[in-house]
């Protein structure tokens, strides 16, 4: 990964009168009750006709004080809370959280549990990217048109993965299957055959989606050259994940700082060129293919053994973490999800800070929106794949 000098950039939050005093500008409140703001996100768009001259994003409409809540919960009680942060990829939330506790406790996670976590993370990546493709098409094509056709077909395949997770954990969204030192639920008998069947279907249909989107002239016209984010700015803003890789930066924590069992498998990092909406779509669809390959490779080779280190946790709620500070970051479908724990030695965290990738992705909006049209704004926002649950926490 290359290092970047922090440069002084033009402040995107200029007062309105600094743009063009002659133009008749219109202020449009875009959201929070807008069908394309992916939940409750709001932008103040200043428009010259349909061209955006200034964009000011506002977050916080979904703030639930999760980090503060965690300070009054025992360590094992926090996992189901963070499930609701990135509600499109709860598995990776749980993993990031429990990894920081394990690191603070200096706990060794059994190999079988690490392989299972890797498997879950890759399956979750497929599900998350499928949902992204569906909602992105919805943004481009409307709820009463071709967009919803892509959306519902993507959901059909996402269901296959939710079914697999349900079989393991009993839940479809909020799994609560990870715990300090390993996993709660072992893989059920015959699970790998079902995974293979699901992967066969997804592998076949992902080609259909590529033809439906990446080879569709309208899709290309709406995404090519739209919302271009250059690599330097992306790195400066802390943008990670597929958005950063679409800018051509070859950065993926799965390969660069392996966690789980990623040091035992070879991850091929997908990068794009151009940093526009099209590149983001290509990177995400490429990652789905790569994840399908990884899952197929791993699912038959999960090593035998215990799924939980078991040891120091006799009474889970009484687990105490020695005083100190720990930071752990993993690669989720949206980018680098960090957990930062400060412990004072008690059975409650003193401070738990989460670093969500979506918040950093949204911070690019004031830079890339000016010059685009209102229609582009929807496409650009969709291409960043923001999950407001983890942005606001």
């Amino acid at each position: 990964m290359r290092t970047v000098q922090v440069s002084r950039r033009v402040d995107p939050h200029l007062p309105i009168d600094r743009y063009d005093p002659e133009a008749e500008l219109m202020l449009l409140h875009f959201g929070p009750q807008h069908p394309s703001t992916h939940g409750v996100f709001r932008m103040d768009l200043t428009l010259d006709g349909e061209i955006i001259v200034k964009a000011v994003p506002h977050v916080g409409f979904l703030h639930r004080a999760v980090e503060k809540l965690c300070e009054s919960l025992a360590y094992v009680q926090i996992t189901p809370i963070v499930d609701k942060n990135d509600y499109v990829a709860p598995m990776t939330n749980e993993q990031a959280l429990n990894m920081v506790f394990e690191k603070a406790l200096n706990l060794e996670v059994p190999r079988r549990a690490r392989w299972m976590r890797t498997l879950f993370a890759e399956l979750q990546r497929i599900a998350s990217h499928l949902l992204w493709l569906g909602t992105f098409a919805l943004d481009l094509g409307g709820a009463l048109g071709g967009g919803s056709t892509v959306f519902i077909h993507c959901f059909r395949e996402r269901e296959l993965i939710l079914d697999l997770f349900e079989e393991v954990s009993g839940a479809r969204f909020h799994y609560n299957t990870h715990t300090i030192g390993g996993n709660r639920h072992d893989l059920p008998a015959g699970w790998s055959a079902k995974v293979h069947a699901a992967m066969d279907i997804i592998d076949r249909r992902i080609g259909e989606y590529e033809r439906m989107t990446l080879e569709n002239r309208i899709f290309l016209a709406r995404t090519r050259g739209v919302g271009v984010l250059d690599a330097e700015l992306a790195l400066e803003l802390g943008v990670t994940g597929p958005i950063l890789r679409a800018c051509g930066v070859d950065h993926d924590l799965r390969r660069d700082a392996p966690f789980h069992a990623y040091d035992e498998v070879a991850v091929k990092v997908v990068t794009g060129t151009g940093g526009d909406c099209l590149a983001r779509a290509q990177v995400r669809l490429g990652e789905v293919r790569e994840s399908v390959r990884l899952v197929r490779e791993m699912v038959d080779n999960v090593p035998a053994g215990p799924i939980n280190s078991g040891k120091p946790i006799k009474v889970p709620v009484q687990t105490k973490i020695p005083p100190g500070q720990v930071y752990v970051a993993i690669e989720t479908p949206r980018g680098e999800l960090g957990s930062y724990l400060i412990s004072d030695g008690s059975h409650l965290p003193y401070r738990l800070k989460l670093r969500p990738p979506s918040l950093h992705a949204l911070s690019a909006l004031p830079y890339i929106l000016p010059g685009a049209t209102v229609s582009d704004a929807v496409a650009i926002l969709g291409s960043l794949d923001p999950i407001m649950g983890e942005v606001d926490r």
Binding site: D139, L140, G142, A143, G146
Partner: protein
Amino acid sequence: MSSFVHGGLYGAVIVTVLMTVTAFSLWFERKLAARMQTRLGPTMVGPSGLLQPIADVLKLLQKEDIIPAKADSALFNLAPPVAVVCAIAVAAAVPFSPTVVAADLDVGVVYVLALGALTVLPVFTAGWASNNKLALLGGMRAVAQSISYGVPLLLAAMVPVILAGSLRIGTIVRVQSEHHWFVVWPFFLGLPAAVIFLLAMLAESNRIPFDIPEAESELVAGVTTEYTGMKFALFYMAEYVHTLVASAVAAALFLGGWDGGPLGPGLHWMVAKTLLLFAAVYWIRWSLLRFRSDQLMRLCWRTLVPASVVLVGATGAWVVFVG
């Protein structure tokens, strides 16, 4: 006098049938869309959900009628009925069979295109009178789109007019039934003209991929953002009636109208062709994404307009030198 009675009678019949067909075309579209999306569509109200449109209308009738405090209430209330009337009035000049026609005007094609183009007026009025920024943006887009696409629509409609040598739609259909449908011969003129006519028609009736005036992922609901209950339903209805009638016009101008070839003429042919085009419009709607407004304008002025100008010139040359 008798032609007046005849026209009034058939007009009443056509309006009644048209409204019924429009209501059930909603059911048809929802079923078609559901099949394309691995869903079932309406199933609960009546057999196969056939009574769903009636339930929808009953629901909309019960909705509160809200007029925004700062809206121009006179224009706001006027826009929806005008939209429906403009759309239905087009049907008057469309011959559904040699006898089933309200008024086969001498200048039928001009009348149809003029009233079709008028549908943008209530849409813009609604956008302006709502006093809502999203509605205004939608209204602006609607005007730009409708004026632009009126040009290729008109030029494409000129091709059958020149070939038949008449502006009367009934005569255009008769010429086709005596010779060939215009999409069959001369197909190099009729087929591209029919395609351009259909595309421009989609744009005029705000259908995906041309539905940017009410792009719900961008402008919430565009011009209809502030409308509730039956007023919203009237806009919705106007859109469907417009699509239906425009399909009928396209069927008459290019597909030989009521002519059934060797199987003889009849009303059923016209109905079948209209519904076929109608279904094609829905098929396009539920498969494609949406253009951006500037890309839409580019498609119109750089592709459709030059192509239709060339077509009209070629048709003139064909009529003078060959046919």
